[in-house]
Amino acid sequence: MGMTIAEKIIAAAAGVESVRPGDIHTVNLDRMMSNDGTTHLTVDMYNNQLNHPHIADPKKLVFIVDHNVPSDNPKTAASQKKMRDFARENGIDFWEGKGVCHQIMMENYVCSGELIFGADSHTCSYGAVGAFGTGVGCTDFLYGMVTGTSWVLVPETVKFNLVGKLPEGVYARDLILEIIGTVGANGCNYQVMEFTGEGAKTLSISDRIALCNMAVEAGAKTGIFEPDEKAIAYLEEHGRKPKAIYHSDPDAVYAREYTFDLSKVRPVVAKPDFVDNLCPAEEVRGIKIDEAFLGSCNNGRIEDLRVGASIIKGHKVADRVRFLVVPASLEIYKQALKEGLIDIFMDAGAIVMNPNCSVCWGSCQGVIGENEVLISTGTRNFKGRAGHPSSKVYLGSAATVTASAIVGKIALAEDIQ
């Protein structure tokens, strides 16, 4: 019986010939990432709870300050200092102010075939180049840091067969919202979402990151694509090579299969307060907004900034609306500067911020107040996710968010002449 790509990565990491869903294996971790959302607690546990504190291999660890950058109060600063000092004392790669952790990982570390744990739920992004990335808490992170290993319950895989090509003006962001709206917020709980088929090949690496990144919003352990020439070219551009290239066997076993025709996807919006609360963007057209956010590990890449800039060029942000533009990394920010995109956003009246998680995670910059409404390219729209519990978050594509910023109400790109 064959294996899926996810099963092959786990088998290799466990040093066994084959694995089956439901098996529990001890695996060697290729890399581990932790950000300022939880690392201060991990460091405290390391210092206070371990009988024999040591690190298996500091070279496999990456610490990234990205959630509250720059820090917004003395307590945040103290928590980040703890992380910074620990990284320095232990020779751990440390990044601060350079971007959202997953974008930094994609640009600098992730290789096809690797098994990576990250202390952040959106670690599932790494499947875009055929790596198995999954989110864990700080206790799992600490265990991996000390032993270099962890335990894994082998998940079932759900196959998403993608056919056709996305129409003009429809984006991978619309597609993943459509997929989550179809399967539900726990539709793939503890499973792997494998994106495959001819349609998958048409998607760019940025598109693939957008899909894998939100696998966790359907409850999945990870999302994954088979690495093809686009994935290998992406790694080469960033000075890396695959660790291993795995393909799912023809006789691999899937828990379920879905087929999505990309040519039929239309602009969609996830309404408050659940990511699977899906509707066609037209249905919410005209809802008044207070803030629009273009950024995040889901949709803050150069491709997304290009879409936003092409729509807002020659227009202004609506009166009394804040439009936050937050490139997902410094590399993206610099590229946007070169292409003149930042000028376009600034001339339109957008607030261009330093690369970080920003309002997507509802602390630090851009937090919204009582009863305010945000339209966002971020990852989540849970109650109070972006600020006050009474505030509301709608999720849409870079195009829908930018059009809404111009109109001051939820709008589609076609509404902007």
């Binding site: 959302g37 202390a119 989110g135 808490g137 206790t139 966790v216 409850g219 995670w361």
Partner: protein, 161 residues
């Protein structure tokens, strides 16, 4: 075992509701715990007593991997979380820190906040309102972690050898 009071929550209750982002970088769980379930009930942390239970529907703890979510519940003395199903990261984090996360399909629909219940871990049953409910057994590996008081206690035991 003593009875504890039930605090019941809805389906798809995400970890942002358990502990909101703006509190995650506070120095420790002791400071964070006063804000537990703040968006759902601002007085939750004052009302809940050690030995009480959190009961929920499907997909409890979805969203962010923040271990502070099970962490603040444990810090408040919540004895266990009983739900129809759990999101995987919350489930794993809860077991790792030694907070029982118990799947029970029938109980959540038949109890309300303020009812009392009693969890019998070894029998895998819950008693509430004069009725006994059977829970899904944890995989043996996870039960072992829980029995040892969590993953760090189990790691210390391994490394003491």
């Amino acid at each position: 075992m003593d009875k504890g009071t039930i605090f019941k929550f809805h389906n798809d209750l995400d970890t942002d509701q358990i502990i909101a982002s703006q509190y995650l970088l506070l120095p420790n769980l002791e400071e964070m715990k006063a804000h537990t379930f703040e968006s759902q009930d601002p007085d939750f942390a004052k009302k809940v007593k050690p030995g009480d239970y959190v009961v929920a529907g499907e997909n409890f703890g979805c969203g962010s991997s923040r271990e502070q979510a099970p962490g603040v519940l444990k810090a408040l003395g919540v004895k266990a979380v009983v739900a129809k199903s759990f999101a995987r990261i919350f489930f794993r984090n809860a077991i790792n820190i030694g907070l029982p996360a118990i799947v029970c399909k029938d109980l959540p629909d038949e109890v309300q906040t303020g009812d009392t219940m009693e969890l019998h871990m070894s029998e895998g049953t819950v008693e509430a309102n004069g009725k006994t409910y059977t829970c899904t057994k944890l995989p043996e590996y996870m039960q072992l972690i829980l029995n040892q008081g969590g993953l760090i206690a189990s790691l210390n035991k391994e490394e003491d050898k």
